[in-house]
Amino acid sequence: MLAFILRRLMQSTGVLFVMSLLVFFGVYAIGNPVDILVNPNADQQDIARAIAELGLDQPLHLQYWHFLTSALSGDLGRSFSTGIPALELIFQRMPATLELAAVSMAIAIAFGIPLGLYAGLRPESKIAKGIMAGSILGFSLPTFWVGLMLIMVFSVWLGWLPPTGRGDTVELFGVPVSFLTLDGWSHLLLPATNLALFNLALLIRLTRAGTREVMVQDYIRFARAKGLRDSRIIGVHVLKNIMIPIVTIVGLEFGSVIAFAVVTESIFAWPGMGKLLIDSINQLDRPVIVAYVLLIVLMFVLINLVVDVLYSMLDPRIRLADTGGAR
């Protein structure tokens, strides 16, 4: 197990290294780094100072070394528009995004797995067919337009929920969160639902396919021959088997949710890092963009790593094969 984690850790470091190279070349080699990293409103003197400070007059490999060391020490430059260090700015916004992503994932899981399970157990029923038709819509409808329609119906017409903002927050371990206040929930519900739709559809399909596949296996029939109750068969024998792919996808999709939060946050003016990215792109605040990209790459690599480890923990066949268990 440890050897496995170590090996994956090394792979992840490799990916990070490659991505840092890509970002570096994107910023330094393809574009003009002065344009990207120096405030366009700066005067000639500032620019000269920045060039010297960033080492842009040095050879490329030294520049990369400088970029890498300062990135590793958490220095990704300062925002042009606010002057705050880019990383700090992103970290301020990160809790809001993570909260939105987590709640949306929870919604997708809480509805997706039971609905998929039902559709998988009774594939011929009318309800199951309805569920599946709904999941096709969930895949096809563009997230941003669904977000607009949610605002139109629930905020404008019905007036039940506020269309934008984050609402009242409370500090939890020093981090502001919305989900502990009623007002926070009312602000959270629409964007989280919007963000959840795609994964809800995905989980329904995945759970249904997995359930159908598992239900015809001999071990399910054997479990029934043992006289187990349906609740035990479905709750343990079926669920534990389909959980392996589901956990994998849920884990991997968490990264996509953070990425798609860019869209949802823009619509619902949710003050997360996705909205920060769009604002930064619109303001050409490049250090923030670079910092966001590096950070999201890091997050993706970490998520992939965690999912792989979780996956191997869930599936005894992999877990034990790796430790050289009795085979």
Partner: protein, 297 residues
């Protein structure tokens, strides 16, 4: 085919027969055909040229669907802030959305197919490197890659197409490589090699046609993805420039009016977008079932 039941139908006839067997797929195909025709003949179907400022009257601004304008004309789907007829704007927007989506998909398919075929044929290090790149890219969501690319590249139709190509090519490369690797070991390729045909000829004339069915299926679905992605990017203000108002831009324009209850400026372009995407997806889904029964769920 079994000898006992000689098939008198041509493959195409059989294909069309299979396809038409599903009423949903047939409906979707008809809808898609209607959408394509509407986009193609937009200038003929539109009551006004929505981007000829001389035809717009600011007095007609934000009219409700069905309202009559100052010139006595009816705005079937209402009008936007500048008094533009939404029905016309949607037809013109469809052209742009479909055009960008199809163009990006075709280019991505050509490039990805080339890489995939090369990867399968050359093998070795080239293959390993290409598949690493493909894996790396596919591990990031398309929306993110596209956003970052556009942030670096800046705005413009060409840049949107480029970004869509970059986020798509990897799918084709991987798919084509997969089926090419399978086909490569088939006897007919062996036979072609024995005839000492040139590698280019073998790859293009023998290998490629046999990799086509999965490619067509993916391309269909990818057109829908490309259209949705372009709309999303345009909505965020990072996609098409205002001079090329795609459906996404139309929806974005209506966003500010939405909170004051003027839903139609965002709603109807969205409906057009959704119908297009759903129709393409349904056709693609069914194409997959027909072209490859093994893949059907």
């Amino acid at each position: 085919m079994s000898a006992a039941v000689p098939s008198l139908q041509s493959p195409l006839r059989r294909f069309l027969g299979d396809f038409a067997a599903s009423r949903v797929a047939l409906g979707a195909a008809l809808l898609l055909a209607a959408i394509l025709l509407a986009a193609l003949f937009a200038p003929l179907l539109s009551p006004q040229d929505p981007y000829d400022l001389a035809q717009l009257d600011i007095m007609d601004s934000k009219l409700e669907p069905g309202a009559k304008g100052t010139a006595g004309n009816t705005f079937v789907l209402g009008s936007d802030e500048q008094g533009r007829d939404l029905w016309s704007a949607i037809l013109y927007g469809l052209r742009i959305s479909l055009g960008v989506g199809v163009l990006a998909t075709v280019v991505a398919m050509a490039f990805g197919t080339l890489v995939g075929l090369g990867s399968a044929w050359i093998g070795g290090r080239f293959d390993a490197l290409m598949m690493r790149i493909v894996d790396l890219q596919l591990s990031f969501p398309a929306i993110l890659v596209a956003l970052v690319l556009l942030a670096v590249l800046g705005q413009g139709v060409d840049k949107v197409v480029l970004a869509l190509v970059i986020v798509q090519w990897a799918y084709y490369a991987r798919t084509v490589r997969g089926s090419a690797l399978v086909e490569r070991n088939r006897e007919y390729i062996e036979a072609a090699r024995c005839l000492a045909l040139s590698p280019t000829r073998i790859v293009l004339r023998h290998l490629l046609p046999n990799c086509l069915p999965p490619l067509i299926v993916i391309a269909t679905v990818q057109v829908a993805h490309a259209i949705a992605l372009e709309a999303t990017l345009s909505f965020l203000g990072l996609g098409m420039p205002i001079t090329s108002p795609s459906l996404g831009l139309l929806i974005a324009n209506g966003y500010t009016q939405l909170l004051s209850g003027k839903y139609w400026i965002s709603f109807f372009p969205g409906v057009a977008l959704v119908l297009t995407i759903v129709a393409i997806n349904l056709v693609g889904d069914h194409l997959r079932d027909v072209l490859n029964p093994r893949l059907s769920r």
